[in-house]
Amino acid sequence: MAQFVADRLQEGFPDAVQRILDERGDLTVWVSRDRVHELLAFCKHDDGLRFDFCMDVTAVDYLSLGGDPRFAVVYHLYSLTTGKRVRIKVGVPEEDPVVATATDVWKAADWFEREVYDMFGIRFEGHPNMKRILCHHDFQGHALRKDYPADLRWRLVRPDDLVNEISPEEMERIRAGAERALSD
C-alpha cells in the first residue's frame, strides 16, 4: 500500500519528490517547496490517493542536528476511504521561511499552520489569518526553535482585542447583515 502511494506521487511529480523513506511502518515523502501546494491538492483530489483527511501540520527545527535546510514542515495525511497514511515533508530554509498554505485544500490546516507560525516562525502564504494562536500576542520570538530558551517569558499587559482579525469588508457585511435581520 505504501508502495502504491509512493509510486503514484513519484509519477505525478517526478521533479518535486526528493526522497522517499519507508521505516517503522510510516511512509515519508520529501517534497520541494515550490511544488508542495500542487502536490497536496493532488493528494486530496486524485482518485487513487484520496487523502481527504489532513490530520496534522507541524514542523521540526533541525538546527541541533545541523540540518540543511533548517526547518521541515511536516504534513500527516490520512485517507478515510483507503486507510492509507503518508507524511509529506518540505524543507524550509531559515532565511526565507515561507510555504504556500494548504487551507484551500483542507480547511483543517487552518489552525495547524497558525501554530507552526507561532512556534517556528514559518509563514504560510495565502493563509486567511496568519497570527499567533497559542502564545500571547506580545510574545516575541518563536518558542519551539532550538535557539529559544525554554524559560524565557514575556509579560502580557492587555489581552488581545481580536479586532484585527476582521477585515473592513467583513465588517461591512456584518453590519449589513445585522440591519437586514433587524428590518425583518
Binding site: T58, S64, F112, A150, R158, D161, P168, A181
Partner: protein, 455 residues
C-alpha cells in the same frame, strides 16, 4: 451627545500594542515582581460598541437610530461559568443572535512540546497526563505506544490487556465529565452529581492501582509502572455493576426530556464532508455519520478481538453527540468486561533493563541492576534515531504523537496531535447565526479540553 461619554472612541480603543516601557523586556522566570495592585489592564469593556466606530465614522450619524447599527460585544470566556476550560470566543451579538464570533485559544498553553525536549523519555509521562486531563491514562497509552513503535518493541500481553481495561475506564471517565458538564450548562445539575459519583468510583480504583486519583502516570515505555493489585478483578467487576446504574439514571432523565431535546436537536448540525474537511475525529465525527474509530480502523492491543460496536449518529448535532457518547460508555464497559475475562498472567514490562527499570532487589544486590537503574535515571531510555507518527483513539478522537528522536535519552521533537484542536477550529464560522444560549450547548458537546487544545 450623551453617547460620547459612555462609549469608547476609536482613539481610546485599547490596541494590541503594549505599554512601551514594558514591551521588549524579557521577564526572567524565578524572579517574581511585585504584584500590580492598582495597575490593571484595560480591556475592551462589554458594552454597546458599534462596528462603525472601529472604522472611525462620526457618532452623530448614529443618534437617529442607534439601535439599528449597534452590536453588542461580549467575551464568552476565558473565565466563564460554563465549566469547559479556558478559551475565549469574542462574539458580536445582534440581540441574542451571534453575528460574528472569533475564538481565541492559548489560555492554557503550558509548553508541553518544549518541556518534552528538555526532559527524558520516561519523564514525559506526567506531562502527557495533563494533556487531556479528563482521561489521563489514554494519553499515557498514546505516548507509550508511540515510543514503543519508534523503538520497535512489543509489550507483554498482560500489560496490553491492563492498558485496554484502564484505558476504556478512562474513556468512560472522560465521557462522564463531558456529558455531565454539558448538562450542567443546560441547567440539569443532578446528572452532574450522578456522573461524578461514578467518576469517584473509578478514581478509587485508579488510586488503588497507581497511587493517584487523576494524574496516574501509570503507563511507561515498555509496559506499566507496576502490576495491578490483588483485588483488581473484584473492584473492576464491582465498577461494571455500579456504573451502568448511573448511566441509566441519566438516560431516563435526559434522553427523552423535552427541554433537552428542544435545546439540542438541530443545533450545530454538521455534514460528513464538512467534518472530514475540518479534520474532526472522535465522537463528534461519528455523530456526523462517519464511522471512523481508530480502534476499529487500525486496531491495536486486540481491539479487533473484542465484540463491540462503534456508535454512529446521523446529523452531527448536539443531541447526536450526546447519544453517541452515552452509547460509547456502554460499549467501553462491554470491552472492559471482555478484557477482564481473560487477563493473562505474566510480566507487565518488557524484559530489558535499558527500557523498563530493574526490580529493586536487583538494583540493590547486583551490579548490572544498579548500573541499569543509574543509566535509566540519568541518561534515560536510549531511543534509536528516526521519526514516527503513532495514533490511538483518545477521548475526543485521534490522538496522535509525532516523535523525532536523535538517538539519545531525550526526545528531539514531540508533537501531540490533539483532537480538540481540529474540532474547535471551525467554531468561528459555524457559530454565526446561532444564539448565545446555543453556544453553551455546543461547547459542552464538542468536549474541548483546554489542556489538549493548547498543550
Amino acid at each position: 451627545m450623551v453617547f460620547k461619554d459612555a462609549v469608547i472612541t476609536p482613539e481610546e480603543m485599547p490596541r494590541t500594542t503594549p505599554v512601551p516601557e514594558q514591551h521588549g523586556q524579557p521577564h526572567p522566570t524565578g524572579t517574581a515582581p511585585a504584584a500590580h495592585v492598582g495597575a490593571h489592564p484595560v480591556v475592551p469593556r462589554a458594552g454597546r460598541v458599534s462596528i462603525e466606530r472601529f472604522a472611525g465614522e462620526e457618532l452623530d450619524e448614529l443618534t437617529e437610530d442607534p439601535l439599528a447599527e449597534e452590536l453588542l460585544v461580549i467575551n464568552i470566556g476565558p473565565s466563564h461559568p460554563a465549566m469547559h476550560g479556558t478559551f475565549r470566543i469574542k462574539c458580536w451579538l445582534d440581540g441574542e443572535t451571534i453575528v460574528k464570533a472569533i475564538p481565541e485559544i492559548g489560555y492554557l498553553h503550558r509548553c508541553f512540546e518544549k518541556m518534552s525536549e528538555t526532559h527524558r523519555w520516561q519523564e514525559i509521562f506526567p506531562y502527557t497526563d495533563r494533556l487531556n486531563y479528563m482521561s489521563p491514562f489514554l494519553n499515557n497509552v498514546g505516548f507509550a505506544l508511540a515510543v514503543e513503535k519508534l523503538m520497535g518493541i512489543e509489550i507483554p500481553p498482560r500489560a496490553q490487556r491492563i492498558r485496554v481495561i484502564l484505558g476504556e475506564l478512562s474513556r468512560v471517565m472522560d465521557h462522564f465529565v463531558c456529558i455531565g458538564t454539558n448538562l450542567v450548562d443546560l441547567g440539569a445539575l443532578t446528572n452532574f452529581w450522578y456522573f461524578f459519583r461514578g467518576r469517584e468510583e473509578i478514581y478509587s480504583l485508579l488510586e488503588h492501582v497507581s497511587g493517584a486519583r487523576m494524574m496516574v502516570a501509570y503507563g511507561r515505555v515498555g509496559g506499566l509502572m507496576r502490576d495491578v493489585h490483588d483485588t483488581f478483578d473484584e473492584e473492576v467487576r464491582g465498577l461494571l455493576e455500579t456504573l451502568p446504574r448511573y448511566i441509566d439514571d441519566v438516560d431516563r432523565l435526559i434522553t427523552k426530556n423535552r427541554i433537552f431535546v428542544d435545546r439540542t436537536r438541530g443545533v450545530h448540525a454538521i455534514s460528513k464532508e464538512e467534518a472530514v474537511d475540518w479534520g474532526w475525529t472522535g465522537p463528534c465525527l461519528r455523530a456526523a455519520g462517519v464511522p471512523y474509530d481508530v480502534r476499529r480502523a487500525h486496531p491495536y492491543y486486540d481491539y479487533d478481538q473484542f465484540d463491540w460496536q462503534v456508535p454512529v449518529g446521523t446529523t452531527g448535532d448536539v443531541y447526536d453527540r450526546y447519544l453517541v457518547r452515552m452509547e460509547e460508555i456502554r460499549q467501553s464497559l462491554k470491552i472492559v468486561e471482555q478484557a477482564l475475562g481473560d487477563l493473562p498472567d505474566g510480566p507487565v514490562n518488557v524484559d530489558d533493563w535499558g527500557i523498563a527499570p530493574p526490580p529493586k532487589a536487583a538494583v540493590y544486590n547486583t551490579i548490572e541492576g544498579m548500573v541499569a537503574h543509574f543509566k535509566l535515571t540519568f541518561e534515560g531510555i536510549q531511543v534509536p534515531a528516526g521519526e514516527v507518527y503513532s495514533y490511538t483513539e483518545g477521548g475526543n478522537g485521534e490522538l496522535g504523537f509525532y516523535l523525532v528522536s536523535d538517538g539519545g535519552g531525550r526526545p528531539y521533537r514531540v508533537h501531540c496531535r490533539a483532537p480538540c484542536f481540529a474540532i474547535y477550529q471551525n467554531i468561528g464560522p459555524t457559530l454565526e447565526g446561532c444564539m448565545v444560549s446555543d453556544v453553551v450547548a455546543i461547547m459542552g458537546s464538542l468536549n474541548v479540553i483546554a489542556g489538549e487544545l493548547d498543550r
